[in-house]
Symmetry: C2
């Protein structure tokens, strides 16, 4: 049913949340909103740490092994969060860049998130090792895993 509403909303160019709000189960809209806030929150944590490490590698900010390692550790820890809980079925929203394709092949979506987790954990390990070249390479791999998922599932 939610999926149908969301399709109608897109067809009419209206907000799915609006339709849900004016439907029989108003609580659903609030739940979707909370889920969107959570998943975007986690993504912001990813992005914050990725950017800080990227800036160091690009020389935009001073390279500092300990600071890099702290960001890699935070990223790795956040990658272990139960982010998939933030994508309940058909939780599309005008506030979200998540594409409907996510729920058409959730297994693939989840597997891409696991790839990111593996890359983030390898980056954490490389950062602990302290070799700048390995850290750069591992950061690049992590970035690739972000893009692989965004390309398919993010607006």
């Amino acid at each position: 049913m939610k999926s149908k509403h969301s399709l109608i909303a897109r067809t009419l160019g209206l907000s799915a949340t609006f339709l849900l709000l004016h439907n029989s189960v108003p609580v659903v809209a609030g739940e979707v909103e909370k889920a969107v806030e959570y998943r975007q929150g986690v993504m912001n944590v990813f992005s914050w740490n990725m950017k800080a490490m990227g800036d160091m590698m690009k020389g935009k900010t001073e390279f500092d092994k300990a600071r890099f390692a702290a960001h890699a550790e935070e990223l790795s820890n956040a990658s272990k969060f139960k982010l998939m809980n933030g994508f309940p079925e058909d939780s599309e929203s005008d506030e979200s860049d998540a594409l409907a394709e996510i729920w058409m092949d959730f297994e693939d979506f989840e597997s891409k998130f696991q790839d990111f987790g593996s890359a983030a954990q390898a980056l954490d390990k490389a950062a602990q090792g302290g070799d700048k070249g390995s850290m750069g390479a591992a950061l690049k791999e992590t970035g690739k895993s972000c893009k692989a998922c965004h390309k398919k599932y993010k607006n």
Copy 2:
């Protein structure tokens, strides 16, 4: 200087970000925006997990020890994030509920965040213990530590 701009902006009822954007160091506005996204992201992770545990305790959703413990663990892990990095000096923004009082007594702000961390870690421990009463009590304490900080430092 940032502080002065922000005061002027508030006096004129204008956006501090707007003033910063049209000033000599345009990169600052982008940095503030990123910091705001990060700190709000972390707060959303806190809120998502707190709400899930609260809903279980209130009987809004079914109480499930394992699910509760997973939320307590995620909260505890997120409480170890370097959230203070998301509050660079005078990073007020129209997109943020953070009050200027934060930077007037940053030590106190930081100490309140540490109190929250201790409470979240105690909650995680209680959740592992599996006694519902202790879990409820620890959740309540954690909620109190959120409120203690929001009361003083959140709009």
